[in-house]
């Protein structure tokens, strides 16, 4: 790996900040969150929700782990785990058990929004979650 990698990564993060501010931040609304809760997978998403999902799914926050689901009972029960990255890295399993995969996927969506670390976004998420 060349010593230039850090500079390249930093340049990318600054561009991503611009993308977030201009394109993504305006999509984070109570309406978008409600839309995801009703339909976490698939067709028919509004353009705003699509922009937001694609942003969150590319792990935009440096240092935050990825989210995965562990199936604790086949096709019946799931828990969320955080994957720090790396081969064979231990997964940190959270306690809440979900009996609907859609609900679990939505819980990950909310967690990713909180991971953005923006107080205003967190306030919107908390209000929507309640």
């Amino acid at each position: 790996m060349s010593g230039g990698t850090d500079k390249a990564v930093q340049a990318g993060r600054e561009v991503d900040r611009h993308i977030f501010t201009q394109q993504v931040r305006p999509t984070i609304t109570p309406e978008t969150i409600a839309e995801h809760r009703a339909n976490p997978f698939g067709a028919g998403h509004s353009p705003g929700l699509e922009i937001l999902l694609r942003y969150l799914r590319r792990n935009p926050v440096p240092g935050e782990p990825r989210y995965v689901l562990l199936e604790t009972k086949p096709y019946q029960e799931w828990v969320i785990a955080r994957h720090p990255g790396g081969k064979a890295a231990p997964l940190a399993v959270t306690e809440a058990r979900f009996t609907s995969q859609a609900e679990a996927q939505h819980a990950i969506f909310l967690a990713r929004l909180r991971d953005l670390g923006d107080p205003e976004v967190t306030r919107i998420v908390d209000a929507a979650a309640n």
Binding site: A43, R58, N59, P74, A81, A92
Partner: protein, 763 residues
């Protein structure tokens, strides 16, 4: 609150050494069972349906009584990954006087910790000598006298990753002087490194005195590691090196720079000289595991665990891409600390397949308390015979390609491609932690290079009934049980043959059958397999391709191991990309990549070929005018004109999904084919494949791009042959919907009954 998952959950695992066996033949089984479980029960079962989805028919198996069924004492068996070259001990390798050891190397993880390059070293005895990378990522000479004294003398200049170096170490027995040497060799094309970078052409040489002389050891000479200990008659190797190694030499004298370079091209007056390109012949690497010594001392060796051969060397100029044309520039072997070609367990029991056992999909079911594993295998019909009118061609190469894939945990952006977070089951967790079970062709090695070999001789946790892929759907082996179950429900008698059988027996195998049916995703095809299917179709054969993204990657078999395959990914839709100059298969010498890029697009053979992939949700097909034409309407007998086809199913709730194929005359879809139905309603996760467009352009998603669709196609071939293709991996997942009474099942049954009959096909 959280807790760590520290180990994989599977306590019993097994494998067999090949997928295909005939009545009267034997098949060895290898089992590892956690000691606390004591004994385990082994039973042979016929597998019928393996998808546990609550909306489907559920798990179905039938126990078959055999001589091996019974209880066995469990034992834990170890797997040792990591590739290396081993040269057995030889008096010539014991160097009592002065010596130099040298090699060209392209290290890919110089900072990972100590790694052996060329060593005759015993960890147990702490004796011998070795040219190594030290803990600082520098070239070093390690000497041990066997009485506890060890010297490690490093260059002090860390190596740069993926840069070629000439590295060497000399020991002067008269003076106790050690010289360690490294020289960066940055060519125009040999690395992703600029000639203008500050370290290009840097030469480092250090000289130190030591009073430690190399002690004698009976350990073998190891390249890309060192001997850790003996287990029975096996040498266990540690200190695995990641990267390329080329032209190692051992000489009985101290060499200067000119002396080192002189031996690179002309290895005269040496103790040992190994040129890996010696095995390159006109049709590939002749003996894949052979390493030959040109010194005259007979220090020949063998590779273990399948390091990658036919790799560009330090002198690759970028002008020649066919290694068989310029073997001299392909003298490198790339070693990885996670290579595994065979788990090398001891046999636990051997099944003799009973005469008369019906051809089908079987498994050994291993159970110990609540712990369970299945080891699938295929029973073929007796050699030279067919015992049914229909053959199911099990795409075992494709199962191997995906075997033990870690995409769900390793591919950081995978949730973009599947439109959700991954869903991990017990097998996924186990193979995430237990990396020693080896990789799939979708994975990267620990050094970031793509995995291009996969073998059957290890536990294949994705090739299991009950397994659902981390992407959220059953896939490959378990998905194909949807079809096996449907055959049984509909009363079709079917023989099973595998990719390997087709490769070996050619069209003669297929010509015994009135109809041949594929699995859901037969993606990895050898040239002889394609030739056989085409010859079958040209001579009246009838072929049902019930899947998507089939006949895509050029695949080769290891001439030394019939159950180990190779690919080289480039210029396709792919999880990794081969390095420049490394597009040709080591096993066969042919160009790897897509069959499409070799003029054999799947459209020419089966009417459709890969157009899009997206693993979020599936969709349905809508009938097209050809489905009402006299030659096409028979397929839809019993299906309404306005019915949506397959707006249901266990794979993403639709019959059109996961990976799609389209009818494209520009790539060779026959003009007389009936385009019966096309899918619609796909999302922007379902994206057009990258080989399909030249320049960058927006609108590649299924929500905007009309090319993104599955096409249902039927056409006739000479002598009353025919092809029916569904163009979607998800098709077979819809067969069982509504107790098997649905339009996907009806269409499939209409075609198979006609294809398997003696009745002429509609033109």
């Amino acid at each position: 609150m959280s807790k760590n998952v520290v180990s994989g959950p599977m306590r019993i695992l097994g494998y067999c050494d090949r997928p295909n066996v005939r009545p009267g033949e034997t098949l060895d089984f290898y089992v590892s069972c956690a000691p606390e479980l004591g004994s385990y029960q082994a039973d042979i079962v016929k597998l019928v349906h393996g998808d546990l989805d609550l909306r489907g028919p559920g798990f179905k198996e039938e126990v078959v009584a055999t001589a091996v069924s019974g209880r066995y004492q469990g034992r834990e068996q170890q797997t040792y990954p990591g590739s290396y070259v081993l040269v057995e001990d030889n008096p010539a390798l014991t160097l009592d006087g002065s010596f130099t050891v040298q090699a060209l190397i392209w290290p890919t993880t110089p900072a990972k910790g100590p790694q052996g390059i060329v060593t005759k070293w015993s960890d147990e005895e702490q004796a011998g000598y070795g040219l190594i990378l030290d803990e600082a990522g520098c070239v070093a000479l390690q000497l041990g006298d066997g009485s506890g004294r060890v010297a490690r003398i490093g260059s002090g200049e860390p190596l740069v990753e993926r840069c070629w170096y000439l590295v060497a170490a000399s020991f002067d027995a008269g003076t106790g002087s050690v010289r360690v040497y490294q020289e960066a060799v940055v060519g125009a094309a040999n690395a992703p490194i600029s000639r203008h970078d500050t370290f290009a052409d840097l030469i480092t040489m250090v000289e130190h005195q030591t009073d430690v002389a190399p002690g004698r050891t009976s350990a073998p000479l190891v390249m890309a590691g060192w001997a850790s200990r003996r287990e029975g008659d096996r040498t266990i190797v540690d200190g695995h090196y990641n990267g390329k190694l080329e032209r190692p030499r051992l000489t009985g004298r101290v060499l200067d720079r000119n002396g080192l370079w002189a031996l690179v091209d002309d290895a005269a007056d040496v103790v040992g000289a190994w040129d890996f390109a010696d095995q390159i012949g006109p049709e590939g690497v002749v003996r894949f595991s052979a390493v030959t010594d040109s010194s005259g001392n007979g220090l020949h060796g063998a590779t273990v665990n399948g390091p990658v051969r036919a790799m560009t060397g330090h002198n690759w100029t970028g002008a020649e891409h066919v290694y068989t044309h310029a073997p001299d520039q392909y003298g490198a072997i790339h070693f990885h600390d996670d290579d595994l070609d065979d788990a090398r367990w001891d046999v636990d029991f051997t099944l003799t397949v009973p005469d008369g056992l019906r051809s089908g999909v079987y498994a050994v079911r291993l159970r110990a308390g609540e712990h369970e594993d299945y080891v699938p295998f295929y029973v073929l019909p007796p050699k030279g015979t067919a015992t049914a009118r229909i053959a199911f061609l099990a795409p075992t190469n494709s199962y191997l390609a995906y075997a033990n894939d870690h995409m769900g945990v390793d591919a950081e952006l995978i949730q973009l491609a599947i439109g959700r977070s991954v869903v991990l089951g017990p097998q996924d967790l186990h193979k995430h932690i237990h990396r020693e079970l080896g990789n799939s062709l979708y994975d990267l090695h620990t050094d970031g290079s793509g995995v291009c070999y996969s073998s059957w001789q290890r536990p294949l946790l994705t090739v299991r009934p009950k397994y659902r892929h981390a992407f959220g759907n059953v896939w490959q082996f378990n998905a194909d049980l949807h079809l096996v179950d449907w055959f049984a429900e509909k009363g079709f008698e079917v023989d099973v043959v595998t990719d390997r059988d087709l490769h070996d027996e050619g069209v003669e195998l297929l010509s015994r059958y009135q109809a041949v049916v594929t699995g859901s995703h037969p993606e990895y095809t050898t040239g002889p397999m394609l030739d056989a299917i085409e010859a079958y179709l040209a001579s009246g054969g009838r072929f049902m391709y019930l899947g998507g993204n089939g006949f895509y990657w050029v695949t080769g078999y290891n001439p030394e191991n019939p159950n180990m395959i190779e690919i080289r990914r480039h210029n396709g839709t792919q999880m990794w990309t081969a390095e420049p100059g490394e597009y040709y298969l080591g096993f066969t010498g042919e160009m790897g990549g897509l069959w499409r890029n070799r003029g054999r697009a799947p459209q020419k053979m089966v009417g459709v070929g890969f157009i899009a992939q997206g693993q979020d949700i599936s969709s349905y097909y809508r009938r097209k005018p050809d489905s009402f034409a006299p030659g096409g309407s028979w397929v839809f007998e019993g299906v309404g004109a306005d019915e949506l086809i397959g707006d249901f199913g266990l794979c993403g709730d639709g019959a059109a999904g996961l990976e799609l194929d389209w009818y494209e005359p520009g790539l060779g879809s026959p003009s007389h084919a009936y385009l019966l139905a096309s899918s619609e309603g796909h999302t922007n996760v379902m994206l057009e494949v990258r080989e399909n467009f030249g320049t960058t352009m927006p609108a590649h998603g299924g929500d905007e791009q009309p090319n993104v669709r599955a096409d249902l196609v039927y056409f006739t071939t000479p002598h009353d042959g025919g092809v029916f293709s569904t163009g979607s991996i998800a098709w077979c997942g819809a067969l069982s919907h509504n107790e098997y009474d649905n339009n996907v099942s009806r269409i499939t049954e209409n075609v198979l009954r006609r294809f398997a009959s003696d009745e002429a096909l509609p033109q």
